[in-house]
């Protein structure tokens, strides 16, 4: 059996890639994908520990996270489409009508 620390290390790498993606990329869709990567890195931790503890709670949590992520996708993509219609761009650097 692969030790749980390997999974946690992998998930930490994925999480950091997600965080860096959000902070460095300027395309709203890519930022959003990076957020999904963060959520999935958490799912990996849940599943890994659920196997270690031999319980179901962790695995059930993964389903909740996936469901909520789907709800977020629905709202997020709708917002991105709406802003693309009016601006013809999803670059967050161009969203600068609010300042002060």
């Amino acid at each position: 059996m692969v030790p749980v620390t390997y999974y946690v290390a992998l998930s930490a790498v994925l999480f950091v890639i997600g965080v860096l993606g959000v902070l460095l990329r300027r395309n709203a869709l890519i930022i959003f994908m990076s957020v999904e990567l963060m959520l999935n890195s958490a799912n990996l931790v849940f599943v890994a520990f659920a196997r270690l503890f031999e319980g179901l709670a962790g695995q059930v949590f993964v389903f909740f996270v996936m469901t909520v992520a789907a709800a977020e996708v629905a709202v997020g993509l709708a917002l991105i489409v709406a802003i693309f219609r009016s601006k013809r761009s999803v670059d967050v650097d161009q969203m600068s009508s609010l300042k002060g």
Partner: protein, 480 residues
Amino acid sequence: MTQADLYTLLPLIVLVIWACALLLVDLLIPRGRKGITAFLAALGLALTLGLTLAQVSAAGTAFQGMVVLDGFARFVNALLALTGLLGVGLAYGYVRRMGIERGEYYTLLLFSVAGMMLMAQAADLIVVFLALELLSIPLYILAAFARPKETSEEAGLKYFLLGAFATGFVVYGIALTFGATGTTSLSGIIAAASNGDAGLLLTIGAALILVGFGFKVAVVPFHMWTPDVYQGAPSAVTAFMAAGAKIAGFAALLRVFGLAFSSLSADLTAILWTLSALTMIVGNILAIAQTNIKRLLAYSSIAHAGYILMAFVPFGNAEVLPVSVAAGVFYLVAYTLTNFGAWAVVIALEKAEGRGLDLDDYAGLGRKYPALAAAMTVFMLSLTGVPPTLGLVGKFYLFRAVIAGGFYGLAVIGVLTSLISAYYYLRVVVIMYMREGEPERVSEPWLNLTWAASALAVVLISLVPAPLFAWASQAVFALF
């Protein structure tokens, strides 16, 4: 699922069913008469408020320890239902005037309130996470509700991206906490942490959860989205968001940090101290330069997040924490009333196309509309913390509790930043009374009721604050 389970969540269940039904009923209401939807939404919230206040008996957990009903949950839920009512009252005329009157507005607001109430009752990190999303996702949509207006769309997208980012931190933090303790229930975490077998993983998990909630309640350095979102979102949404999301966020902070993670105080007290001090300083200093009233109130809301966060700094000190949290809850009530009042005045002066939002547009208000100007003066004084207002009483209780915990430096920073804040709050008052101008206000019954009632409450409760503080203390003390 037993009757006791249902009883525990009764107000919430009624509210969610009401919101679902409202979504259907709204289809039958003709386009020009969406005011009916607003009344139905208000009725649902009033019913929820009544049920919450009626839940006197039985405190305890339900649904296998997933949710809890106690005095604190009841107090916060009542406050949240009131927040929803005020939110509907502010929106009623505003959305019609701005041409964004759609029935979904009220349904989304109800769902968001439901998420906030679930947050106050959460006894498991899974429920904390679900409640966080249930309150946030409707708010993302509401922030972009004035589409295709560019500022509103932008506010919605920014709020969404940063909110989802914060959710990522919370979920990862919960995952690590689960790994460290083998459970997600708050009482299980307390038990595991007190055995001392938690260690580094739990600390990292707690820190990540703190970062996530820091984004949600707009604590410096996680506040960047706040001014843009508060400015771009429709004003009625901002008013609701500023109060509701803060109440729910701090309720969760109390449940998660005050109770579950109290064994980590050695590691986290300094961090909370720094966050609170930074938030007060940065929020108040950046507010000075603002000329747009919505941005000014946004920075003011950041600063107030810092004051409320003070209440959690003594966490781990079992003697002081109940008192300081009670003070924090009291401050939340004061902030909610003042916040809604101030935003009601902003809405009364706002014109289409985002005009009427500069501080200069308030010139001459004192002469032309004395009552409105007097109300605004009360709210500004309350946000500063000057007698005779609720803001002062709230700050007094907070600073007293923090000093009792031995955090003199933080109390001094609190007092000094309040002095700084006087500069920009009083500038609004000076502009209203000392400058000539011809402001035009909108007079709508529910709007007028909101600012007038808030102003009266802010002054009157400050004269006899003891009963409210006793109620808040009683609600909080039962937790510890």
